[in-house]
Subunit: 234 residues, 4 copies
């Protein structure tokens, strides 16, 4: 790859997971990706998207922002019917993959292998954790980024901006005790610009979110509000 | 969908599974799909392809032959990061999906649900079985097609054309005792036109194959040889 | 095995799944098994229990009624750390195993293999299905028994005795269209003697239940009520 | 629990995994466990056994050495048909469980949850890793012990005593950089006393082995040879 990967993502970063929502499928997904690209171009804030597999190539070809897959299988190309290889992501124009999302949990060994295969292919990894200790474990695998979803925020509806500050800052501190270099995203409780501001202020390097943007009436407006929260740190 | 599905596939049929081979990825996959389309157009024999997920949309848009996915998850659109929905297949232009390939084995309940979800969406199902009794079980779920890989042929290197005739004919007979309507493909031991001829002669409605075409020096020539074997029955 | 298997289970049968409830663990489980044995001896109705794995051997050694495992892995003895082999069940004194419970769903191929391995070892299989079509598929695999949990009853709280009769009778009819010999248990909506009566009356060969007995204040009384419902058919 | 857990296991330790070998089932397993107990009593070296599930209770009741399960499911007691709960292990008399063996790989989240559930119940965890980085990840979850199977030794047939010293010492060093307290067992390449000696000498706290003992003509003699290798460090 000609592009220098370390510069591919600039932090703090916003990563939008399209999941398999009907709103983010096909044309809907292309529209959100284009909005994300526009906000990124206008604000200079790095915004990434993770489209559905069948849209990966068309969206990666259509936008200049970094495009991630939502998952990749830890197998080489070959007799793996129904799997998705690192090579397929690269061929499609993705810069990397989310791994171990709480909706697509992986064996520890598979996370390790997939992170290594992505790295060997010059691609990035963004590994999710649903608690602090698993996040520390993931940090030991040295992925490009990890996203922590603090259990105090998932499903409770408590936004980061209203949560106890130590939930984020203490998580970041413990993860950094394992790996000082890994980039840490906040992956739960993010729906507004305030949440992004707070997540960054408390030490994280960005946010991973989904429905807050995909299900919004005006996804572009939400992305802009979040990008502006990041701009306020410059 | 405007097209009448029953007419979408004409039997005997050739289905080419691209697996995740490097030879069938991206441009390589497009080339094989175009060859399959050319042979189909020139011979009138129905040839289907099952590309890798990231190529599904571009190939379905580029060719007029039926395009299958290699797998689909039995979940509705929603919070299913890293999954592939029936809606995504339809949006990408696929006519259906392979299910339960021996490299992507599914829970019985998932096969049942996926077959139903595909049918409800107007799409086709091609369910694989690795022995006669599982094939009979699948027949009870009433998919569009099922592909049986007789254990006497998988991995033994024995081609259908050299195998004992009763391996195919007896399998077909037992499967039909459960479901007289289901279309039965032969899914192992197929590498040459002779194998296709024999499979059809012994009562199957077509073949499912992968490396025999994808890894061939001249995939188009192999597809043509197989299509001509089918033509000899007209 | 010296005992004749066909006579091991007499129909209609009551099978009590201990799950991993705390009430059915260790001494608790032994007590329920002893109650089941007492009712069986006093009424002549066949009552089976499926204890937790760690209690399988001690309970099988302590009671004369048939004891099932709740699951068995489809692997031969060998390098399968953490698995449970058919040989281990036999050594422990179990007469067979439940398979594919909705809380332990299996790949179709694994159900097929496990049913075959149990049969080859002279043991019985009781395969669960969560809808009519999967039950028909299972019938094609020819297990000793299958238990159907009609979706109209699971989780809805509707007991069999209050449900539309055709939910059971129509299921039984469709399953028998695939396999006339297989024994069919009703596996949902069973909490009282009335439910057992109704399930048998509508054509099933017995019941599979769990919390209705295990969580009861007086498990022995519930088992007796159910056994008496079966007696009324003699 | 009345017993002080830290004193339960004394290091260096020998842990014998019975897997599902036919030689370690039922009476065979009891015999090996009794041999292990005898060697432990005679040498003062801590020897633990991990029997098959159906033998767990009878062996734990028959011997005074620590007995582990080969796996435990990360679920509380309840509606988990076919699973094995921490409570069941405790009731059966086990002191803890092996987790994430390469033959029973777990999701990262499940390892985390199971380690925590075992600890909360006063039981021990022994988590396996098939490479150094996964071992480091596991160290971050703070189990009682971890066993590393260096890929340079698994399947290659190279015994620890003949391997490059840095394969063990460097692994130990990197794991300790994450967690200074965790006990580290060597889990591959152990078949003789020499291998145990070398593993301890290079910094590990014991060994986890299976066929080396279970498949031996005289399991007791092998255990004794290994215990004597440990004695030479006193």
């Amino acid at each position: 790859m000609a592009k220098s990967l370390p510069r591919l993502i600039e932090f703090p970063v916003i990563v939008i997971n399209f999941k398999t929502y009907i709103e983010s499928l096909g044309n809907g997904g292309m529209k959100i990706a284009k909005e994300a690209e526009r906000v990124s171009n206008e604000t200079g804030v790095c915004v990434c998207v993770a489209p559905q597999f069948t849209d990966l190539k068309s969206i990666a070809n259509a936008v200049s922002i970094p495009v991630f897959a939502q998952h990749v299988d830890p197998y080489p190309p070959g007799s793996y019917t129904g799997s998705i290889s690192v090579e397929a992501l690269k061929d499609a124009g993705a810069v990397g993959s989310i791994l171990n999302h709480s909706e697509k949990k992986l064996q520890l060994t598979s996370i390790f292998t997939a992170v290594k295969m992505l790295k060997d292919a010059g691609l990035l990894s963004l590994v999710c954790a649903d608690d602090v200790e698993p996040a520390m474990a993931i940090a030991a695998l040295n992925p490009t980024m990890l996203a922590i979803e603090p259990p105090e925020l998932i499903g409770t509806g408590i936004p980061v901006s209203k949560a106890k500050p130590e939930i984020i800052s203490e998580s970041v501190r413990r993860i950094r005790s394992i790996n000082r270099e890994v980039k840490i995203l906040c992956g739960a409780g993010i729906t507004r610009g305030d949440d992004v501001y707070r997540a960054i202020e408390l030490g994280s390097d960005g946010v991973l979110l989904a429905s807050g943007v995909v299900k919004a009436k005006d996804p572009g407006a939400v992305i802009r509000e979040m990008a502006e929260a990041i701009l306020s740190f410059r």
